[in-house]
Amino acid sequence: MDDLDQLEAQSIFILREAYRKLRPLGMLWSLGKDSNVMIWLARKAFMGRVPFPALHVDTGKKFPEMYAFRDEYAKKWNLDLVVRDCPPVEEIDPSLPPAARSAARKTAGLAALIEEQKFRGVIAGIRRDEQATRAKERVFSPRGAGHQWDVRNQPPEFWDQYATPHEAGMHIRVHPLLSWREIDIWRYIQRENIPVVDLYFSKNGRRYRSLGDQDITSPVESDAATLEDIIAELRSSRTSERAGRAMDHESEDAFERLRVAGYL
């Protein structure tokens, strides 16, 4: 097995654990590269099907290309797609910096969806290498009744033994991609021929490295127009993937505050 085979096998193991131990279960599908890989891994784990709903918590501010992608592949991949809107920004904590406040809409929308469907497990595509607070995550990350993440009191997790909810109202965030790196995602997309939104590929010297809402994501300078180009670019680049995400740069702890409150 090469390194991608190992990552794939481990993610499949995690997805199968989640499916067995956490019901009802849903998988967040943000339409970005990571969550497409995640859907693909679920199909690997369950012999071509995704046996739980794919959840899109919609801010209404995604790129038109992303909505088109969603509608095409929800059908093509036979997904049980659940779409829910987020509350307006006026209802969000005004003490947050503007981009973080905008992003926090997604947290509120997700919380409402979890309440509505009474999920015990929500699969999310975060990776350790994306951001320092994500590096602190567990594969199975318990969330209290208010969906809060207790960073200082996380359960032990070793030898592939994961936590399960033990109190009413709790749920588990499951992170099958935690050990993947950005370059692994792209190498896997290339190997498996997984479709992604066109915005990742360079046009006029710019491309999106990470896709969020239109108002809080900016493209980076890049000539990478193919999968090969992107992989080559990542091999030589040292810029952080989320350099184009505004909220990460507003203050030292903005992202951490978001994460503790339940943001991905």
Binding site: M1, D2, D3, D5, Q6, L7, E8, A9, Q10, I12, F13, R16, E17, Y19, R20, R43, K44, A45, F46, M47, G48, R49, R128, D129, A132, T133, A135, K136, R138, V151, R152, Q154, P155, P156, E157, F158, W159, D160, Q161, A163, T164, H166, S179, R181, E192, S237, R238, T239, S240, E252, D253, E256
Partner: protein
């Protein structure tokens, strides 16, 4: 060992996965600083990261703090401690590593385990002047228990000792002695200064006497994980799916190779099946799978195993898993309350989960001097050797560093992981006089008889399958009931459905089936019951075993129906199945039936169960 015909893809790697390296040690001995230094010296920092550290350090009025690289949470920066483990990729000499930063504070032990449990190698950071402290000992103990095979000791802050050869030599001897006590072998002991970069990536000119490797060199010398493909096949069933009329048994191969067409033995029941397909979605068809692969198997016959059933290949000439209901384990206890004898927990072994009771605490480790002591309780975050008992025998492999074998984990009633429990073997049953104190009934048999109770007795009916044992026993039971006599029937199928459901049909399991049944029968007889046991009991030695357990109140009743008649009756279709090869070791077909030389009574069911029952009851009345 069976030689493989061709190398499996699992044995050739296009690109090796990153080698995880955990950094452990006592608080303030310099772990975070070391990692920061390591990343900087190997040119592994992302762009802008160094600038951030410098800025963050300046904001707090300090010189460059390498530890800020890791301590990225706000609380960590404010309090100057590392709360949780972080994984940082780093590359050296074309090889990928992942550094796992494990926090040193005692209350964060579970985070350290989380980070360290799968590491290939560990760097134990020890302050050269301070020497081993409590957390050094604790971490060293954990490295031993979780089975990390390569340990590199970094004698940090050697600059404080001015890189004095004699003093560093003394410090090295002390730490080597400690690790030898734990059977931890040491790859290298390196005098270093993480803050200044001595002997980290480049040899230091402050220690010209030191001839060993730099830290980076020592890491590069750690061999890649040993191949697991040439060991016996093991996979624990993770789940069973049924999609589009097809059943898939899914799981991850722990070790060995599985091929289409191979036999597998399933769990403690020991049923066997053949692998007809190794199914994968969107992958090239490959009739074989190896260690680490998450696979889906189709079986023939289409058996439905349980989650947690251990699969192995009975045709492989390899050691088989151990089977026991008493298991010795080394435990590292993560809960703040102690662990007491009698506590009920669950033991998880991969996807398997068994209710267990702590039967005894054999010894507890004293971290002061690393001695073993007798104790009634494993203290908070303590280490001990304990014995766990399960209701049913468990199939497991003994803990082996570097493999998934015997990686037991203890969970409490809230499903919280409260300890690690590497399984070190089946526990001998301790001497009954020490642990078991059977109580005798205060009602004597004379008193029972004076109160009009009859004497209890066990009538052990044996004979070929379908000889009519149960039919006769049930007939007798009904008649005795009408007469107001207390009668109990223990028949083979009922026992195997419940009490003995963990047993298969091997010679040992059949014997255990008889042993247990005899003990139960004896208890009923002691309470004044007429007990009718209906069991094939084909071996003389097994009937002797039962007679020995039950004693004087035992009679052997041979239900003498000829083999031909039994086979022609075949009410359960068992003979047909055995002849078709679907049941192995079936008495009278491919397993022996030893007739009796001098049974207490011989019954024939040829002229119907009623006649046999009458004869039998007459005999019973002479005994009770």
């Amino acid at each position: 060992m069976t030689m493989m015909t061709a190398p499996h893809p699992a044995e050739s790697t296009a690109r090796n996965a990153a080698t995880p390296i955990v950094i452990v040690g006592h608080v303030d001995h310099g772990k975070s600083t070391l990692i920061g230094r390591l990343l900087h010296d190997t040119d592994s920092l992302p762009e802008g990261r160094l600038g951030q550290i410098v800025e963050s350090s300046q904001k707090r009025g300090r010189p460059v703090e390498w530890s800020f690289l890791l301590d990225s949470l706000q609380i960590e920066r404010d309090q100057g401690v590392t709360v949780d483990s972080t994984r940082i990729p780093f590359q050296f000499k074309g090889r990928d590593f992942v550094i796992v930063d494990a926090p040193g504070h005692r209350q964060f032990l579970r985070n350290m385990i989380t980070g360290a449990a799968d590491a290939e190698a560990a760097v134990l950071v020890v302050d050269a002047a301070e020497g081993a402290q409590e957390q050094t000992r604790r971490h060293a103990m954990l490295l031993h228990l979780i089975g990390i095979r390569h340990v590199i000791v970094l004698m940090n802050k050697a600059d404080v000792l001015a890189f004095d050869a004699a003093r560093l030599e003394a410090a090295e001897q002390a730490i080597r002695a400690l690790l030898a006590q734990l059977n931890v072998s040491v790859d290298a002991v390196i005098p270093a200064s993480a803050r200044d970069g001595d002997n980290i990536a480049a040899p230091s000119d402050r220690s010209p006497w030191y001839k060993g490797p730099t830290l980076v060199q020592a890491l590069a010398d750690v061999p890649p994980p040993a191949p697991r493909a040439r060991l016996g096949f093991r996979m624990v069933v993770q789940d069973v799916y049924r999609f589009d009329e097809t059943r898939y048994v899914v799981g991850r191969v722990d070790r060995g190779i599985i091929r289409e067409g191979a036999s597998i033995s399933i769990g403690t029941q020991g049923q066997t099946a053949r692998v007809t397909e190794i199914a994968r979605w969107h992958a090239p068809a490959l009739p074989v799978a190896g260690p680490g692969e998450s696979i889906a198997l189709r079986l023939e016959p289409d058996i439905v195993p349980d989650r947690g059933d251990l699969l192995f290949n009975p045709d492989e000439d390899m050691p088989r898993p151990v089977r026991s209901a008493r298991i010795q384990a080394r435990v590292f206890w993560l809960r703040q309350e102690g662990l007491k004898r009698g506590e009920r927990l669950s033991l998880r072994l991969g996807p398997a989960e068994y209710p267990v009771t702590v039967a005894s605490i054999d010894s507890v480790v004293n971290l002061e001097d690393m001695t073993l002591q007798k104790a009634d309780m494993v203290g908070p975050e303590g280490f001990a050797t304990i014995i766990l008992t399960t209701a049913h025998a468990v199939l497991f492999d003994i803990f082996t560093p570097g493999l998934n074998d015997g990686r037991g984990v203890l969970v409490d009633q809230y499903q919280q992981i409260v300890g690690g429990a590497p399984l070190i073997g089946a526990a001998e049953i301790s001497e009954p006089s020490h642990t078991i104190h059977p109580t005798e009934s205060v009602i004597s048999s004379e008193a029972r008889r004076a109160a009009g109770e009859r004497r209890g007795h066990v009538f052990w009916l044996f004979g070929r399958p379908a000889a009519g044992k149960s039919t006769i026993a049930r007939e007798v039971e009904a008649r005795l009931f009408r007469d107001g006599q207390r009668c109990v029937v223990l028949d083979g199928d009922s026992l195997r459905a419940g009490l003995n459901s963990d047993l298969g049909f091997s010679q040992e399991d059949r014997r255990e089936n008889i042993r247990r049944t005899a003990h139960v029968a004896r208890m009923f007889a002691e309470a004044g019951h007429i007990v009718l046991v209906a069991l094939v009991t084909p071996m003389k030695s097994d009937r002797a075993l039962a007679a020995g357990i039950i004693g004087k109140a035992f009679s052997e009743i041979f239900v003498d129906t000829s083999a031909d008649i039994c086979e022609s009756r075949d009410p359960k279709g068992l003979y047909a199945a055995a002849r078709a090869g679907k049941i192995a070791h079936f008495t009278g077909v491919d397993a022996p039936f030893e007739i009796s030389d001098d049974p207490s009574l011989t019954l024939s069911s040829d002229s119907g169960p009623e006649r046999a029952a009458e004869t039998f009851i007459d005999y019973i009345q002479t005994k009770v």
